[in-house]
Symmetry: C2
Subunit: 259 residues, 2 copies
Amino acid sequence: MKTLIVHAHPEPRSLNGSLKDLAVSTLEGAGHEVRVSDLYAMNWKAVVDAEDYGPHASRPLRVARDSGRAFDAGTLTPDVRAEQEKLLWADTVILQFPLWWYSMPAILKGWVDRVFTYHFAYGVGEHSDTHYGDRFGEGTLAGRRALLSVTAGGPESHYAARGINGPIDDLLFPIQHGILYYPGLEVLPPFVVYGTDRVTDEAYPDIAKAWQQRLLTLESTEPIAFRRQNAGDYEIPSLQLKEGLEPAGRTGFGLHVRG
Amino acid sequence: MKTLIVHAHPEPRSLNGSLKDLAVSTLEGAGHEVRVSDLYAMNWKAVVDAEDYGPHASRPLRVARDSGRAFDAGTLTPDVRAEQEKLLWADTVILQFPLWWYSMPAILKGWVDRVFTYHFAYGVGEHSDTHYGDRFGEGTLAGRRALLSVTAGGPESHYAARGINGPIDDLLFPIQHGILYYPGLEVLPPFVVYGTDRVTDEAYPDIAKAWQQRLLTLESTEPIAFRRQNAGDYEIPSLQLKEGLEPAGRTGFGLHVRG
């Protein structure tokens, strides 16, 4: 495997930092190639602005169109081009981050906002009566896999089916489906460590062991069975799921998972 | 009313910029006080790091604990203290932003990550057998109201109950419930403009009229009926919704809305 780890925590000696380091050593120890984008160490620019598009930044700025023009011309900033190249190099992408306010830290959202440009991650492929762009299962990153490795402060029960935060699968759906599956990545079930406000040194070995087991079985892990957009399950162009495809009673984000 | 508008778009002459300007003129025209945090214009620092906590940044950095110590001591950075003061001044908070990758732009997520510190927005109140902190309906910002004003590139059908993106209410739940309701804000139904990739000059007057109507009825609009954490609906400390409280068949995020 060729794995890109995108890491988003300000403290190297944090649980997230340890999980990132363990992923590097475990994967390299198993003979895989690993590259790391350590966003804090890189002082990653988190904010989309006109500087990202150089001569292709129009006035007024139009983020989608201008980013696509700069992508087409090869004039995106070097930091963004380097991340796009890493994504194309990798066959496996791991995002390592703490769940802050039920989503990713701003620095990681800014990696998505800036790297996932028009014509690279969206605005790809033909639009016709049967095909609404190459997305949700097709696209630039098709054939690759992704995995979230997430730490959550609260206990697991708060993220359960009836937990007050909402189910973890639903909280991660906008990332797993909306960000990763959209440009074609197949998404493996997430690795989530709960209760990290209270993780003790004694608890770490079990966490590390579970993480290593996930890392060493990435190639045999079944991805989440998200529905492909252009394979017949959706009306086009309304992109509503056709009636009767889902198990009785299923609603919401779960509609977009098969079976 | 005293309204704080937090605005997150890089282009003043964008639809988001126009909606922000219209909110200011409409509310001021109706005799209300308005303050604006225009995050791009302020060159808002989006990324949490040790600099945020000054002398209270420990080594290794511990974001929650250190932010709470700096909050308690009044030594958070001036930009963060100013935003906290604005939130305490306001009785109504509007977040104006484009939906980028199914969530907020990084600059706005960074406003949340930095301003919503421990002891200000979380880690507030007693923890006991019947009360798991002041949150989800209680907290520092209780008694105030919030509203999302969001633009979405895709058409409304893609965000409908069976739409491929997932229902808009579910996409916004981590923000409306997880970020706004958590520290006590009551959340009004969002104002969403769809299909903004194709908004024409001809379409704008209808959008503006609808937005003005929402703005001028903020005080009489019923908030989303999120369940209060400590009012008896949840087991404590597991914070699972007690059985039988929801309408038959309701699951997921919808469990946490009454009725």
